[in-house]
Amino acid sequence: MKLGFLVDLNLCMGCKGCEIACKVENEVPLSSWRLRVKYIDLGTFPDTRRSFTPLRCNHCENAPCERICPVSALHYLENGIVNVDSARCIGCAGCMMACPYGAIYMDPETNTADKCTYCAHRIESGMMPACVVACPVEANIFGDLDDDHSNISLYIMEHKGAVQVRKPEKHTSPTHFYVGGGNQTLNPLAHQRIEGFNLFNDITKLHHVGDKNHGILDRFLAPFGGHESASTNDSLLESKISTESHEQEGGH
């Protein structure tokens, strides 16, 4: 069995339902994303259009993150999923440097590497990944690439010639495919990131890796419990303040 993913970008409408479902299912902390949908505006007015590209771990067959991990925290499951064992991770960030797709992040709560696991825990119970279930237009197609009659295999065969992967020149053999993508949507160097052009969000770059309130000394003191409680309280306080201000502005 070799599980794979295919996103038909012609169907995706950028609702971000998959992004939210992933966040909820996997309890992904603030400032971290296992799956995100990127909006890119193409062309020049009036000939413009907006494209939506969901981006997640590619679960490469030749995964650089698995190779560089010094303690096998990143490892293959029998079904081809590149899984993370956060209890073993030492937080060296080697995987973040190796992944050509920027799909790995340092969890700010556990200070260990984390990423999309194709919802391995759901697959084990015979369920589909949360993002697949949430997609209202079935743009996410998931299944066994080794099975010729699976949805994903049939979709790939049907769209032969139009199926793409990100950065094929890296020879990572991703098991994550796209239909309807182009260089402008799949190549991060083919589109600009202009300061101030982001909708809803002014933060274009994260200036911390892992927990921003977790300095070098805190990393050593963490097992003794001193920092953990303080950090959790800070996060709760921040979220309380933001909730209150949100409610004051008429939000729910």
Binding site: I68, G102, F220
Partner: protein, 316 residues
């Protein structure tokens, strides 16, 4: 024609999450810099012992392992503090994953440091016969096994090669950062070790013979020359990958990393080359020490830029 094509294919990101900034920062720079000193002093000492009598460099036998010991501990300490889960570093030894150059490097560096500690104990015990008195077991064992120092030197030299170069393999395995994928990185690490090793030994060469010091200055000038030439090659020559091109284009266009890079090149490579050549002629110890200091500062600046700039590109 070209202009209109570019115009028509304009693409701008209008909604995305904040992208990752620099993941491996100055801590890793210090890590690499200290390791260059730790292994470099051994290479240079071995060359000097091959070329000269031991009496020409009376303090080298005990001071070289001390410098290496301190530098390697700085290197390992900075490796440790860069980890987000520092106590789990033990997992590298309990659950090693041998395809990872981080694992292989950590094992080799630990063995290297262990043997270097033994060399330090022997070197210091032999140099100071009254050290520890008659009751100290460590100095007693060290003096009893004095010959072990010379016996393991060839093995240490052999071991120092992968310990020096494995960081280049880590960079090669960091396949997301195209700028580090150049095969020249391996040689760059070797030149950095020779540069840092000779620079560190210059500070203890005051009592050495003129010829030995001249050789030290020669190693420094040759190392900075070739290291500089390789940096220039990597900086100006065209890479085949668009990521590396984009990284370099960003630095070429100016900004803080451009200034830091050229400051590093001038301080650490161009100035020490001329200072070391000039110090060789008239055996000017002060000038040579100044060249060594500049080389160590410039090397850190250059390594820092080369480490950080590829991390500025968005990966997705």
């Amino acid at each position: 024609m070209v202009e209109s094509t570019i115009h028509a294919t304009q693409a701008v990101v209008t909604l995305d999450v904040p992208i990752q900034g620099i993941v491996w920062g100055s801590i890793i720079t210090v890590n690499m810099w200290a390791k260059s000193i730790g292994t470099g002093v051994l290479f240079v000492a071995a060359y000097l012992w091959f070329r000269h009598n031991k009496e020409d460099m009376p303090n080298l036998r005990w001071l070289m392992p001390i410098i290496a010991f301190v530098a390697l501990n700085v290197f390992l300490f900075f490796t440790l503090i860069d980890l987000h889960q520092p106590y789990r570093m033990i997992n590298i030894f309990l659950h090693p994953h041998w395809t990872s150059s981080i694992t292989v490097g950590a094992w080799l560096a630990s063995i290297f440091l262990g043997l270097m500690t033994a060399m330090m104990a022997i070197g210091v015990s032999d140099a100071f016969p009254s050290l520890g008195g008659k009751k100290c077991q460590i100095t007693k064992i060290a003096r009893k096994n004095s010959g072990f120092y010379e016996k393991i030197m060839p093995f240490m030299l052999f071991l120092a090669l992968p310990v020096t170069m494995y960081t280049a393999i880590i960079m090669a395995q960091s396949s997301a950062r195209e700028l580090w994928q150049a095969p020249t990185e391996v040689m760059q690490m070797m030149w950095a070790a020779l540069m840092a090793g000779s620079a560190a030994l210059i500070f203890i060469s005051g009592s050495w013979t003129k010829e030995a010091r001249k050789d030290l200055a020669l190693i420094l000038s040759v190392a900075v020359f070739f290291s500089f030439a390789m940096y220039m090659g990597e900086y100006f020559f065209s890479f085949k990958s668009s990521e590396a091109e984009a990284t370099l284009a960003y630095v070429h266009s100016g900004g803080e990393y451009n200034i830091q890079f050229w400051l590093g090149m001038t301080l650490g490579f161009i100035a020490p080359f001329f200072l070391a050549i000039s110090a060789m002629k008239d055996d000017n110890k002060t000038l040579l020490r100044f060249a060594a200091l500049l080389a160590l500062i410039g090397l850190a600046l250059a390594k820092d830029v080369w480490l950080k700039i590829p991390q500025l590109l968005p990966l997705s």
